[in-house]
């Protein structure tokens, strides 16, 4: 490779001296477009590499000789040519390119390319499309808008998190999340989530590894290239205010039975959390403990009948106020964009609050041939939500709400501090789980996080055709949190079964610092015989450091005082951190022929700190071809129907390295230690392959881009195949090997998929237009092999169900224990107990990523009105309803009333009378149909909780109105827009999914498909948005 680099350098140098001299005169002029002067237009003498660029006012000046042809080119505009005559002034008006395929693509490293040159598939999301419903996180606004992109919004809290996956999964144990690049530098999803969505100019989605390969080992999962607003050109100062308000409410709750109430084994019990009581009869019954006559509070009596919406009414309407003020402007050599954003939210859970402030200053200054650009942002948020380990069983809040029977008027218990109220700890009806209002008041989790992102860029146009760019980016985040719980003791006469709650306070802090430096030379060459070359040579240095620590004190001495000093006993402490570094060099060459055929060759070599020093270097190449056949084939030119057609092929190989400190087995301080002066260290549970190495991802991609009817309709189609081999994987060895995980390189995953994106203007007249975009993504990742003798890997498992990688099956796969069935599929039951028999080994239940995702985006304009909407449909996958599983015990499930709480014969069941011989079971009833069958037998068959994850979601809908220009002129404003906005207003789930949003997930890892227990219920929001610009 070294020789290859040298060769390229020589080529560069040879081209640099190729300068011609002739008799000259100076021509000046101004280049404009419809909106005014156009800076940055390349002015070239045709057939040479001599040229200049227009300044910030669109002016240029160039030495030419008569008869030369001046070629004016600007990305996104039609190239214009003018012959130099006698005049010394040539003014040019450029027209926007009619062809959508001429649009600018921001590719890896922030390099702009015309779309025709790009040999892989990308899709751009504009700022209008991102902010149509005033989202608080940009990620959630991407759902349904890009083919190949799957956004999983994992919970609906005040500070939600989401998972961003491009083209399915490629790794069993490694990250599958897309790389985030902000203003040209590799960043983090945290920094992306912390962006004010209004500050984003656009997001370019590089779907495959090829597109992102120049980013190095992080690029295997594709990339989101985020560009923030840089300031409008045109000299005028723009001041804008964007205000939105949204109200958030519970979208839907789990569907439960409403026939039976509090009780146990069929008998009414006034203090039960469970619903195993008798059938509702409407009679007035005691609920909660019996109070003594002189207690001052009468024993509570409520009708034994369902209370409508008793859980729903617990949740409040959440409010989000979002205000952003922004300024932007420019003069001939500088531009700036400044914004201040403020978000204040109250969640659907009472007292949950979230505040965040964002500040951004982007500025650029041109000094001669050098342009300096800085984009900086500061972010700060404060979260105050109910704690996550409530009560003596350390449960989440939702658990306490779910453990309230239908006949309990839950909202009557708000008054938890009043010793003579039913909400007071001693008086609360539920002997086992505390009052959720009490939980909110006595368990808090508070957190404050800040982030500074600074991105400094220097760009030097050494020659018209040669540019040097250097960039340094810092992404620093830090924060601290306090989590506390108050103690609660009980009057044993009133609450004999209640477990007293101990108090604690935890203080934690973290710091994260990521530094990223790039430099690159880019040179563009035009040869006389129709050949062009665009080249990039560059390097990158990366460093990330993370540190976290926490301290927890238990059993506080002074009530309501939450400081570590208030704890008794030894506080528990923890500190952890890691550091990673890497550097790399890269080259990228794009050869063009007649502007319709392009060949791209690129390569990068990385060195990483996380692999053994003898194997920490790796080179990865990529190759791509782009062919604009409508320009190449004469018969297709000037075709009114198919006006544009491009075919691309690309192949790349990318490697992923390890996380820090993974190459050596290590010890850790064992739980509980030190005991006084006795310390103890334990060998880690993970054993590590002595030859652990990098993971290889190879991607092939074929793409087709078509433009019809003068690009009024466009179709982008792609097929990809990705093979990941030498997977860096945690396999599960036999526990008898004394390790619980084994880190090794094994196996192969193969992903195949198709993406289609059809965009077009359905109708267009003077006042009316309707634009429609349909995205279709179908992809599946299969496990080709693991290793000899091992045909599955558990990503996470309880032993009864889990997420697995299974050879020959789609990944991730849910496995669960199932009923034993006879060859006809009938359930085999025990001939005595009537209970179904279960299979000893877990069975494949289905994959957790969809067969396909269909996204609809529609924008209708009528005069000043705009109606836009995004709909997203996913199907063909399953998820594990963890909440239903956990709630079976309480007798609230619909299944538990399916046999009217009687012993019953399992329908369509058989009894094995002799080996292999099955006779229909007509009379052996299950024992314990009243309760124990459901809690102990049915609940043990975990396949009962694997449900169809299909979902149709109206993710976004907005109706806005912009004042027309004549009105604006009168009131001296440049823009006034009012909008009504709605998010997730409609969701359609299959009948069998009774619990929650299948998109919810417990972790941001590859254990996709288990959720619904820790997350509050799904929400929808509705509000308005006002945008005014001066």
């Amino acid at each position: 490779m070294k020789t290859k680099f040298n060769g390229l350098l020589t080529l560069l140098l040879v081209l640099m001296v190729q300068v011609t001299f002739a008799q000259k005169k100076t021509v000046t002029g101004t280049v404009t477009d419809a909106s005014g002067p156009l800076p940055g237009v390349t002015v070239l003498i045709k057939g040479t590499n001599t040229g200049t660029q227009t300044d910030f006012d669109g002016n240029y000046s160039i030495s030419v000789k008569e008869g030369d042809i001046l070629k004016f080119s600007y990305i996104g505009m039609n190239t214009t040519e003018k012959i130099v005559g006698t005049s010394n002034q040539i003014n040019v008006t450029m027209n926007e390119s009619a062809q959508a395929l001429e649009e600018v693509v921001v590719t890896a490293l922030g390099i702009k390319r015309e779309k025709r040159e790009v040999t892989y598939q990308t899709q751009k999301v504009s700022d209008e499309s991102l902010t149509v419903v005033a989202p608080t996180r940009a990620a959630s606004a991407l759902a349904g808008k890009v083919a190949g992109l799957q956004i999983n919004v994992q919970d609906n809290g005040v500070n939600p998190s989401s998972q961003i996956i491009l083209r399915g999964l490629r790794s069993v144990s490694g990250s599958n999340s897309a790389l985030i690049v902000i203003d040209g530098s590799v960043s983090t999803q945290g920094a992306f989530d912390d962006l004010n969505p209004l500050d984003i100019a656009n997001i370019s989605v590089l779907k495959g590894a090829t597109a992102a390969a120049l980013y190095g080992s992080n690029a295997g999962n594709g990339a989101l290239i985020v560009t923030t607003k840089k300031g409008s050109f045109g000299g005028k100062l723009k001041v804008g205010i964007n205000t939105s308000y949204t109200a958030e409410t519970v979208a839907y709750l789990p569907k439960f039975q409403s026939e039976y109430g509090t009780g146990w084994e069929g008998a009414y019990d006034a203090v039960e959390n469970t619903n195993w009581g008798p059938r509702f009869d409407g009679t007035l019954r005691q609920i909660g403990p019996t109070f003594p006559a002189d207690y001052g509070l009468a024993t509570q009596m409520v009708p034994y009948a369902p209370v409508k919406n008793n859980m729903l009414d617990f949740f409040e309407t959440g409010d989000t106020f979002n205000n952003t003020v922004y300024l932007s402007g420019s003069n001939e050599d500088s531009s700036f964009y400044v914004s201040v954003g403020d978000q204040r939210s109250d969640g659907i859970v009472p007292d949950d609050t979230y505040k965040r402030n964002t500040f951004r200053v982007n500025a650029s200054k041109k000094i001669g041939d050098v342009t300096l650009t800085a984009s900086t942002s500061f972010f700060n948020d404060e979260t105050d939500v109910v704690g996550g380990s409530i009560g003596d069983q350390d449960r989440p809040l939702y658990w306490f709400i779910l453990n309230t029977a239908t006949n309990i008027p839950l909202t009557d218990y708000k008054d938890w501090q009043n010793p003579l109220g039913y909400g007071y700890a001693d008086n609360y009806f539920n002997a086992y789980y505390q009052n959720p209002y009490w939980a909110i008041g006595t368990n808090r989790n508070t957190d404050e996080t800040s982030r500074f992102v600074g991105n400094f860029n220097i760009s030097w146009d050494i020659k018209e055709w040669l540019n040097f760019t250097a960039r340094i980016a810092a992404n620093n985040a830090w924060g601290n949190g306090k989590n506390w719980r108050a103690a609660q003791e009980y009057n044993a006469d009133l609450q004999p079964a209640a477990g007293a709650v101990s108090s604690f306070v935890t203080d934690s802090e973290f710091q994260s610092a990521i530094y990223n430096g790039d430099f690159l030379f880019s040179g563009n060459f035009e040869f006389e015989d129709d050949f062009t070359l665009k080249s990039i040579l560059g390097g990158n240095v990366y460093q990330s450091k993370y540190r976290t620590s926490s301290i927890r004190a238990n059993n506080l001495s002074i009530p309501d005082f939450y400081d570590i000093s208030n704890g008794t006993g030894t506080p528990a402490t923890n500190a952890d951190g890691n550091e990673k570094r890497s550097f790399g060099f890269f080259a990228d060459l794009t050869f063009g022929y007649k502007n319709y055929l392009f060949l791209n060759l690129a390569g990068r070599n990385d060195w990483t700190s996380t692999l053994a020093s003898d194997s920490n270097s790796y080179f990865y190449p990529s190759v791509g071809v782009s062919f604009v056949f409508t320009d190449a084939i004469e018969a297709l030119q000037n075709n009114d129907i198919l006006n544009y057609g491009k075919l691309t092929y690309s192949n790349s190989t990318v490697y992923s390295d390890l996380d820090p400190y993974r190459i050596n087995e290590s010890y850790f301080q064992s739980g509980g230690f030190p005991y006084g002066s006795i310390n103890g260290f334990e060998l880690g549970g993970t054993s590590i392959d002595a030859n652990i190495a990098k993971e290889k991802i190879n991607t092939n991609e074929i793409g087709l881009n078509l433009g019809f009817f003068n690009s009024r309709v466009s179709l982008d189609a792609s097929y990809f195949n990705t093979v990941t081999s030498d997977l860096i994987t945690f396999t599960t060895p036999s526990v008898a090997s004394a390790s619980t995980r084994f880190l090794t390189n094994i196996g192969e995953l193969e992903g195949n998929g198709i993406e289609l994106s059809l965009s077009g203007t359905v109708l267009k007249s003077e006042d009316f237009s309707w634009d429609l975009n349909i995205n279709y993504t179908s992809s599946e990742t299969k496990v080709n092999s693991i290793k000899e003798g091992l045909d599955e890997i558990a990503v996470t498992t309880t032993g009864q169900y889990g997420v697995y990688a299974v050879v020959g099956e789609a990944f991730p796969q849910i496995k669960a224990n199932v009923y034993q069935r006879d060859p006809q599929g009938r359930i085999i039951v025990d001939g005595t107990s009537g209970h179904p028999l279960t299979e000893e080994t877990l069975q494949n239940m289905g994959k957790t990523t969809p067969d396909y995702i269909l996204g609809f985006n529609s924008v209708v304009n009528y005069k000043g009105f705009t109606l836009s909407g995004t709909l997203d449909y996913r199907t063909g996958h399953v998820y594990y309803e963890q909440g239903s599983d956990a709630m079976e015990f309480t007798g609230r499930s619909i299944a538990s009333v399916s046999a009217n709480r009687q012993d019953f014969v399992i329908p369509n069941s058989v009894i094995e009378t002799s080996p292999g011989v099955y006779s229909e079971n007509t009379n052996v009833q299950v024992a314990g149909g009243r309760q124990n069958y459901w809690t102990d037998v049915y609940n043990d068959v975990k396949s009962n909780y694997v449900k169809d994850a299909t979902a149709l979601k109206l993710r976004e809908i907005a109706l806005s109105y912009s004042l027309p220009k004549d009105v604006l002129d009168k009131i001296k404003l440049t823009k006034v827009t009012f909008g009504l906005i709605g998010r997730n207003l409609f969701t359609k789930l299959p009948e069998e999914n009774r619990f929650s949003d299948p998109e919810f997930n417990n972790t941001n890892s590859n254990a996709i498909g288990i959720g619904g227990y820790f997350q509050s219920p799904p929400t929808k929001s509705f509000g308005f948005n006002v945008n005014v610009e001066f």
Binding site: Y661, N664, Y667, S734, A738, S739, G799
Partner: protein, 484 residues
């Protein structure tokens, strides 16, 4: 110009490459060491041994609990659904799997490190060998064939073969003898453990006695007279006190005695839910009352209304009397077992050692009366009860030696009482071998006429070691080899 670019480019490359060696040298984990000394390995191993018998720090049920459930010592009070699988004898591949996995991934993992040390650490090595034998016997007693010769090799063997249970038993005897040899032949320069040995404080003679005591347990359980004779020939003899593990348990979160932490109170002195949920069975209360056994008030907490046990597996708690069996009214686990949060965790009772010697002597035709009575006295002592001699002087079968027509039944029955709530799994093994104590009821929720005789291999073995794990033997009929 071209030269400037060229040189600038080269300069950057050279600078980066020159410093890359150092630049990338940041892959040393600042939070986790890669090398530690034996003094830090041993106490972790021993603490885990105690966890395996009593409970995990997180409250996971282990050997003692399953023993108490299967041997009808414990039941459940009203208001709880705490032990559904135990009461149904629902032996599956997810039932008490921690006994299998924690043996290998916690204690044995650490002991294995000790057995690989050089002669400077011969004493640590011997302790590792002795404790490995202790744990592998338990594994055989719970599961039969288990990974042994190829176990604990970590990355070198992710799928160890299962070895024959009887073969393992034989080899454990060899290993115990070898461990005693290592101690006796350790060079004078060999490091002797100190307070880091949280069982015997580095007293290597005690370790020889313990090795010999484990050897006798193996000999008696497998009715191997040669092993029994070998144990009796060891001049150091057997243990002389209960074998307790105590790293320095304290009234702090995560640092309490694990039995106390699960069945007693948390560090803020709040009774745990499990302490309320767990109580005596009707049968054991009646048995202890009928034999005028003073240990009853130590094994079980006496409610104000008198001792009350609950039929194991009871479903309807409110008939005929509502709230009859709420925690306040029933005999929960008693003060002789729940001494304090700082008490040592027992992994081998002195009483059992005496009863094992008694059975050994009996099997060889000797007079085992004094050993039998020493066993009862050791049991009274452990619990803090008094009046042992008066107790075993009562003319009652299986109480007094003289009045017991079946001496073996007397020994095993007394061992059942002596291990109640301490190492009750031993009593279950003895039951499977001898059928004593007689007339012990089965859970009312059981669908079988008798209790299980073994555990199932965990589901994790089926998925991760499927080529080696035997097909699950019948939990109710496939007895461990020594019970046949």
């Amino acid at each position: 110009m071209k030269n400037i670019i060229k040189y600038a480019n080269l300069l950057i490359v050279v600078l980066l490459l020159a410093s890359c060696e150092d630049f990338l040298d940041v892959n040393v984990d600042p939070n986790n060491p890669t090398v530690v000394t034996p003094e830090l390995v041993l106490p972790v191993a021993q603490k885990y041994s105690a966890n395996l018998i009593q409970a995990t720090d997180g409250g996971g049920r282990r050997a003692n609990t399953i023993g108490n459930m299967l041997m009808y010592n414990w039941s459940q009070s009203d208001g709880f659904a705490w032990y559904p699988d135990e009461f149904k004898y629902n032996v599956t591949s997810s039932f008490y799997t921690g006994i299998f996995s924690n043996s290998y991934t916690q204690s044995l993992k650490q002991y294995q490190i000790l057995t690989q040390l050089d002669e400077k650490f011969d004493n640590y090595k011997a302790i590792g060998m002795i404790m490995k034998a202790y744990h592998f016997q338990l594994l055989v007693d719970f599961y039969g064939d288990v990974p042994y010769t190829e176990a604990l090799l970590r990355k070198e063997n992710a799928t160890p073969v299962y070895d024959d249970a009887a073969f393992i038993y034989e080899d454990l005897v060899v290993q115990l003898s070898a461990a005693i040899e290592v101690i006796n032949n350790a060079p004078s320069s060999a490091v002797v453990p100190g307070t880091d040995d949280i069982m015997f404080g580095g007293d290597m003679t005690e370790w020889i006695k313990f090795a010999n005591t484990v050897k006798l347990r193996i000999g008696v359980r497998s009715s191997n007279s040669a092993v029994i004779s070998e144990a009796f020939a060891q001049s150091e003899g057997f243990i002389t006190s209960d074998v307790l593990v105590n790293p320095g348990y304290s009234k702090d979160a995560g640092k309490q005695n694990p039995f106390w932490n699960l069945y007693g109170a948390d560090e803020s002195e709040t009774l745990t839910l499990t302490s309320k949920a767990t109580c005596a069975t009707d049968f054991v209360i009646t048995y202890l009352q009928n034999t005028a056994d003073a240990r009853i008030d130590y094994l079980y907490e006496k409610p104000a209304t008198g001792h009350l046990g609950v039929v194991q597996g009871l479903l309807d708690y409110d008939t005929p009397v509502v709230d009859a069996y709420i925690p306040e009214n029933v005999s929960n686990i008693g003060p002789g077992l729940l001494k304090s949060e700082t008490m040592g965790a027992c992994i081998f009772t002195l009483a059992e050692s005496y009863f094992n010697q008694a059975e050994a002597v009996l099997s060889q035709g000797g007079d085992a009366q004094s050993l039998y009575e020493s066993g009862i006295e050791a049991s009274f002592d452990y619990l803090g009860a008094s009046g042992a001699s008066g107790y075993y002087a009562q003319p009652v079968a299986n109480v007094s030696w003289a009045n017991s027509s079946n001496k073996l039944e007397a020994i095993i029955t007394q061992k059942w009482i002596a291990t109640n709530g301490i190492t009750a799994e031993q009593s279950w093994f003895d039951y499977n071998r001898t059928g004593y104590p007689s007339n012990l009821p089965v859970s009312s929720q059981a669908s079988t006429s008798d209790r299980p005789v073994r555990l199932y291999y965990p589901a994790s073995e089926l998925s991760s070691n499927g080529g080696n794990v035997p097909s699950q033997p019948d939990a109710f009929t496939a007895k461990i080899f020594w019970a046949n």
